[in-house]
Symmetry: C2
Subunit: 510 residues, 2 copies
């Protein structure tokens, strides 16, 4: 069959780029790359490559371009929006072996790293110089910087320090056209439009990030972590408002509800108060004098907010324990539920209380338990919908609830994603946020870098054509059409066909 022959020729060419052990085509090996952190979406790639050098990425992307094969670049696959799910019929470029810290400049406070470097590794490497890398997604012990850049990852401390975009100074990117560009530099002051900003958050649709220059910050001299327990969730929300009103800018302000606390307790024994209905964690950092002054003010504000209990982290170990519960909250719900879906909505901070009340109401109406964990300072909600994932019908109903929550965020004047990205999961909501002309503009920008729409095809844009002629993921079908541009507005092309997940619990990409 012609398509099979072309697939063979593509794979042969690919094998010339990679030494043994760096190119996987065996189904057992491919299975590990079928999904990311949002396990309800699954698809099997035709091959997985593990480059160690930029030149291999360039050769791979050019080959994909010449054969018209879609590709997905990924690191540890911690995406919670399905952003790293393979494109059926395409390949995965796994960047975990490009994991070197190429340069660390303590004087100018920057590091140049490869995309497969784990977020926390940067801070570890910078620690001897009293520096660290600020953005701290909950998955920072495992997630890689390439993914952080592609999804503009946030984290608890982004309230004060900003998202990934605020810390990326420059990068090298292999565009989907096969060209390598160097954008930004070693300072946030750059000439012209903010290209690093454009590429940060592009969800892998422009090409493959192969090098990132990040800025490092001096480790704060002092840190104060306060935990306040409340009877009700709205009281914790009000406390956040009062802290902001007092003019304080904590490094982090996080809220967990009872169910989230139960999960954290079951998973890591966080030792949170047993009777509280909600928990507020506030952390201050900075020069010692400043932190002490702000701390006194914070304690006044919290005392006036009606807490049932206030705890202070007396040392670093205690602080780490407080944070461990919060940072493991997503995975922790696995201890109290078979399956879960985490949402990532944003509402104006002033409408947090309203949003939480409506989520509670929606959860009751849909018949699910919903645990709430959120970055309260910037209105970024993470409702975790708990369900029994052994029933496909239940999974579908949970997704309906997730959609209803996102609709609520939009109605309240918010956004569909704070830090997890649009990915596969939320692409259908994009037209609710942007008018057709603006969506078209976004599409045109994408096509500037990727005329064939090969890079992470099918994500972000609701009508992004499914592979018009990708390599069939098992079943026989035509593929190839190398070099043929995806027709504009080809949104009605068929979606990829389902591939059953290994444990039978996944759903395929839509």
């Amino acid at each position: 069959m012609a398509a099979e022959a072309e697939k063979g020729s593509f794979l042969t060419a690919l094998s010339r780029i990679y030494p043994p052990g760096s190119l996987h085509t065996d189904p057992a090996q491919l299975a590990a790359y079928e999904c990311d952190g949002l396990t309800v979406f699954r698809a099997r790639p035709v091959a997985v490559v593990l480059p160690t050098r930029r030149e291999q990425v360039e050769a791979t992307v050019r080959l994909c371009r010449d054969y018209g094969v879609p590709f997905v670049a990924r690191g540890s696959g911690t995406s919670l929006s399905g952003g790293a799910v393979p494109v059926p019929g395409g390949i995965v470029i796994a960047l975990n072996r490009m994991n070197r810290i190429l340069h660390l400049d303590p004087a100018d406070r920057l590091a140049v790293v490869e995309p497969g470097v784990v977020n926390l590794q940067i801070s570890r490497a910078a620690a001897p110089y009293g520096l660290y890398y600020a953005p701290d997604p909950s998955s920072q012990v495992i997630c890689t910087i390439g993914g952080n850049v592609s999804f503009n990852s946030g984290g608890a401390h982004c309230l004060k320090y900003g998202m990934t975009a605020n810390h990326v100074l420059g990068m090298k990117v292999v565009l989907a056209t096969g060209e390598t560009v160097t954008i930004g530099g070693s300072s946030l002051d750059v000439a012209g439009p903010d290209l690093p900003g454009l590429f940060t958050g592009a969800e892998g649709q422009f090409g493959v990030v192969v090098e990132v220059t990040v800025r490092l910050l001096p480790r704060p001299e002092a840190v104060r972590t306060v935990l306040a327990a409340y009877r009700r969730l709205d009281q914790a929300g009000d406390a956040v408002g009062a802290v902001v009103k007092a003019g304080l800018l904590p490094a982090a302000m996080e809220i967990m509800d009872r169910l989230a606390m139960d999960a954290a307790e079951a998973a890591v024994g966080a030792g949170y108060p047993r009777q509280a209905g909600a928990l507020l964690i506030v952390e201050l950092d900075g020069p010692a004098g400043e932190v002490e002054a702000d701390f006194r003010r914070l304690m006044e504000v919290i005392a006036a907010s009606g807490p049932t209990e206030v705890r202070l982290a007396e040392d670093e170990a205690e602080r780490q324990r407080l944070w461990k519960g919060r940072k493991s909250a997503f995975s922790a719900v696995g201890h109290i539920s078979l399956g879960y879906l985490v949402q990532d909505g944003v509402v104006p901070r002033t409408r947090l209380g309203e949003a939480l009340a409506r989520i509670e109401e929606l959860a009751a109406r849909h018949g699910f338990r919903v645990a709430n964990v959120f970055h309260a300072g910037d209105g970024n909600l993470h409702p975790l919908i708990l369900f029994d994932d052994r029933s496909p019908e239940t999974v579908e109903r949970a997704e309906e609830l997730a959609a209803a929550i996102i609709e609520t965020c939009i109605e309240l004047g918010g956004s569909i994603t704070g830090e997890h990205g649009v990915g596969l999961e939320k692409r259908r909501f994009l037209p609710r946020l942007f008018d057709p002309v603006t969506l078209d503009l976004m599409r045109r920008i994408r096509r500037t870098f990727d005329p064939l729409e090969l890079a992470n095809r099918g994500k972000v844009f609701p009508d992004e054509p499914a592979p018009p002629a990708g390599i069939p993921a098992g079943e026989p079908a035509a593929w190839g059409q190398a070099g043929v541009a995806v027709p504009a507005g080809a949104g009605s092309l068929a979606e990829p066909t389902p591939v059953p997940g290994p444990a039978g619990r996944g759903r395929d990409v839509r």
Copy 2:
């Protein structure tokens, strides 16, 4: 003549969009729009339009597109890089009458404004709610937000609060294609690539910004302003390093040298110390307790840095006086020199001392006096080259020195612009910062929004074709070619011909 007929037809069509008094074609009226803050570049537009509504901008841009006429959008014209200089043969869209604050939301801390709103007006409107708009270019009493957005303007307090890009949540833009897009939203958390970031700093080359949503910050509870005088410039520079090392993040850290102080003294009687060789101004702001704690630390650091004098602003009037000298420094040099050129280089903060020494050496070698005023915290230098602008030969030599200073910044690992933009003045340096593939990428992005390269044509890109067929600015020549795309790589097209400035002191666009 055909070209003249087409020009007439274009102007007639234009006159249908604008009521009397909103379309200028009279040379006396046009003269006011011939240059911006960098007066050495001048060019005369064919017409100036003053829209009051978005629909007029849309109609104007579509007309320009249909006739192939370049346009420059501008506000108060305070650009210091020639960014608002007209394109010869093109029109100017002056947005000063689109100056309404459309919406101010104190709860969600944002304002929606038209592009012609003056920077400081936003803070004035927000003041009753205890809020303000943070980016504060020195020209903030006159410069407009549309220009701030297009050039990603900074200001003294951007050390702590970031540039304009950090404060723009969303915008409406009439693209050069005539389409209007709405990008971003009312929160910094948006889905997908950072489009507001891309448009902030695009120097008017994508289209015309017609509405901006900015965030507002609570006015800091307390402010402390400290002035320290030093014998030598390098001592002031060392003091900045010590403040940063102490972990303090002042709202502003500014240095002025003796010559800049003399200028400020002559212009506004700033009352700065008469004997000092350099001046450091440090301002702390935030919650009262935090500011007091940081202030004690700051005073220790400054005491150890060898100042000859330390002054505190005891009240708001005194603080305003200290700042007035600094903020008027650029215009103040007019009091001690007939002409001046201000540069806007960036060097890594750790190489500030080296940069200053080399500037001094260059100034001596080229035979000019150079006053230095700079945002010391982020390595953004503003050397002011003083010269007698009555001699064209002197102007040229001053520009040679300016170029040598910029070359030095590049050599030291910095950038050609911190906040003034590339504009006309620095476009020839762009290839020193970006490789050809990356420059081509920037060009492709521009053409996505402006296929004919009509919007602020001839700025930023060194090889951006001069108007291939613009309306002749006085002399007869062919123009028109409506709808014809600018050929890629048409960089060798003739540059515009000189138009003498009204006072004979200007040089025309190169």
